[in-house]
């Protein structure tokens, strides 16, 4: 399989192109959230297309990122006031992805330069954006760090160094595990090709994560018909309460 792919790519490489370019693919570009959804593994693979022989010098490196929809998030901090712990300060982080996974061929600091990270926003701290903090907060960085730490503990953010396999400086693949607690939306997948700590090519693909079937129905009713949803919730509660009462009477008699 791998050999056949290499062969096909070698043939494709016959078309003229500049330097080294990425050709990528996903095992799935649609993830359906059903009632029994408990996560999904996505294979992200590809190859480096080139005309000339593999150049010498520093090794080729690959970084793959997958990110969920971004939203603003409030980070609150507790402090001791009059003997009790209360939320005192808060910082709004303007944009934090609901999910962010970075997979690389090697240690991120070694294969990617600061400037390139800044430009492409690859590492987790660069991805989480915080513009301004309120006047009373002097250490806003601590809040952003806390957000990343909490998200990492929940498994929503992860940096997997060395998770991308690159063979013969041409073929690469990695598995990204999407957790069960997934938010609906378009998940952008970015693949970066690097040499000498610089990005020399990039590709982007979209994985659509959507609720289907019963999940979709329940979600749409709640969002589009809130009044009916409220009535429905109460009717279900009433029927269930009455049903249990009748059932128990029947069982006892």
């Amino acid at each position: 399989m791998r050999l056949r792919l290499a062969l096909a790519l070698a043939l494709m490489a016959a078309t003229p192109a500049a330097a080294e370019r990425l050709v990528t693919g996903l095992s799935e570009d649609n993830v359906s959230i059903t009632a029994s959804f408990d996560g999904s593994d996505i294979l992200i693979y590809g190859a480096v297309k080139r005309e000339e022989p593999i150049p010498g010098g520093p090794r080729l490196e690959v970084i793959v990122t997958v990110e969920g929809p971004s939203t603003p998030v409030v980070v609150r901090r507790k402090d001791r006031r009059w003997g009790i712990w209360v939320n005192t300060q808060s910082v709004t982080v303007d944009s934090a992805p609901s999910f962010y996974e970075v997979a690389t061929t090697g240690p991120l600091g070694r294969i990617l330069s600061e400037t390139e990270d800044l430009r492409h926003k690859i590492s987790i701290p660069r991805k989480v954006r915080s513009v301004g903090a309120p006047q009373d907060v002097t250490d806003s960085q601590a809040f952003t760090d806390a957000l990343i730490r909490l998200k990492e503990e929940k498994g929503a953010y992860e940096l997997s160094q060395g998770a991308v396999e690159l063979s013969e400086q041409t073929l690469f693949r990695t598995d990204i595990a999407l957790p069960a607690n997934l938010t609906e939306g378009a998940y952008e997948t970015r693949i970066f090709l690097l040499r000498d700590r610089k990005v020399i090519d990039r590709r982007s693909e979209i994985i659509q994560v959507r609720k289907v079937g019963l999940e979709r129905m329940v979600y749409r009713i709640a969002r589009d018909f809130p009044v009916s949803n409220g009535i429905l919730a109460l009717v279900i509660a009433a029927l269930a309460g009455w049903g249990a009462s009748v059932a128990f009477r029947y069982v006892r008699s």
């Binding site: 959230i33 998030v73 507790k78 209360v86 999940e215 329940v218 709640a222 279900i236 509660a237 269930a240």
Partner: protein, 304 residues
């Protein structure tokens, strides 16, 4: 078996949901409390986002209360007239409470006020109830004269007297309405049905017999919790029907079992158990406030 909840957007174990619903239902049938003060923190604990937990928890309270009331109805231990009077006060108090809630939210200290009122009310109610019921239990063991409820002279001097036949009371409607308003107000601010305040208030302030208190309290809670669910469904779209369904299925069964047990236990024992439960929750919240938390930071979505 895991299930993905469409509104909460988390996957949780179905058996855990059944279990939680069942425990809360059991308490509801046993004590006549809706269980809002338990279900909401428990849902937070298994990772349900707070707005969804509050709204869906209220819906589960409706179901287990209905199930409980029907069981009490057969034993003729629901005072509808008293329940309705309390409810009228309750709805008024609840509307006032929502206004207070919004005011506190704007001031940015709602979390603290909610926690402090939990500690204060759960602590006072729990301690009073425990003390009184222990004393009552001692008395019944020592074959002393039957428990005499405190009848305040001034309560009987009030106008608009009504006969509450089921409760065996002939008192003015003013005290029940005031109790209803107070409970509705606290319930809306604290995000609970208010059963744990209502039950002792009915016993100690209105002098109702414990047997009638449970069914009547459940009757009132159905409507208060129903009102809360409906408001949340409309304003925040945070009622998760799938989550509600599993909690409810567990809850209604628990409520039936609970109300069977409540017929077998002595009133004093019932009150001691409820008092201990209320005190345990109070202690937990107080410790959260007093001890340095392991994690000082918390995340919340930005509300538009």
């Amino acid at each position: 078996m895991q299930i993905y909840l469409p509104i909460a957007e988390v996957a949780v174990n179905v058996l855990v949901l059944f279990g939680l619903g069942g425990i809360v239902g059991l308490l509801s049938g046993l004590f006549g409390v809706g269980g809002g003060f338990l279900i909401t923190p428990l849902l937070f604990f298994i990772g349900i986002p707070p707005p969804v937990a509050v709204a869906t928890g209220a819906n589960q309270v409706v179901a287990s209360s209905i199930s409980g009331v029907l069981a009490h109805l057969k034993r003729k231990t629901v005072d509808f007239r008293m329940g309705t009077v309390l409810l009228v006060g309750g709805i008024a108090g609840s509307s006032l409470g929502i206004w207070v809630f919004n005011l506190l939210s704007r001031l940015g200290q709602i979390d603290l006020v909610v926690q402090l009122s939990y500690v204060l009310f759960l602590g006072v109610v729990g301690a009073l109830m425990l003390q009184e019921s222990l004393r009552a239990l001692m008395r019944s063991k020592g074959s002393a004269p039957p428990v005499r409820r405190a009848h305040h002279g001034w309560v009987h001097a009030l106008p608009f007297k009504v006969k509450f036949r089921t409760s065996g009371l002939y008192i003015s409607v003013i005290p029940p309405v005031v109790v209803g308003v107070g409970v509705g107000l606290l319930g809306a601010v604290m995000g609970v049905g208010g059963g744990f305040i209502l039950v002792p208030a009915m016993i100690y302030l209105l002098g109702m017999p414990t047997k009638v208190v449970v069914g009547t309290s459940l009757f009132q809670i159905i409507f208060v919790a129903g009102f809360t669910t409906f408001m949340h469904a409309i304003t925040n779209q945070s009622v998760d029907l799938l989550l509600a369904l599993f909690l409810i299925l567990g809850g209604v069964v628990g409520a039936q079992v609970g109300s069977r047990f409540s017929g077998r236990l002595k009133a004093e024992q019932l009150r001691i158990l409820l008092a201990l439960l209320v005190l345990a929750v109070c202690l937990k919240i107080a410790l959260d406030l007093l001890l340095e938390p392991a994690e000082l930071y918390s995340l919340a979505p930005v509300r538009s």
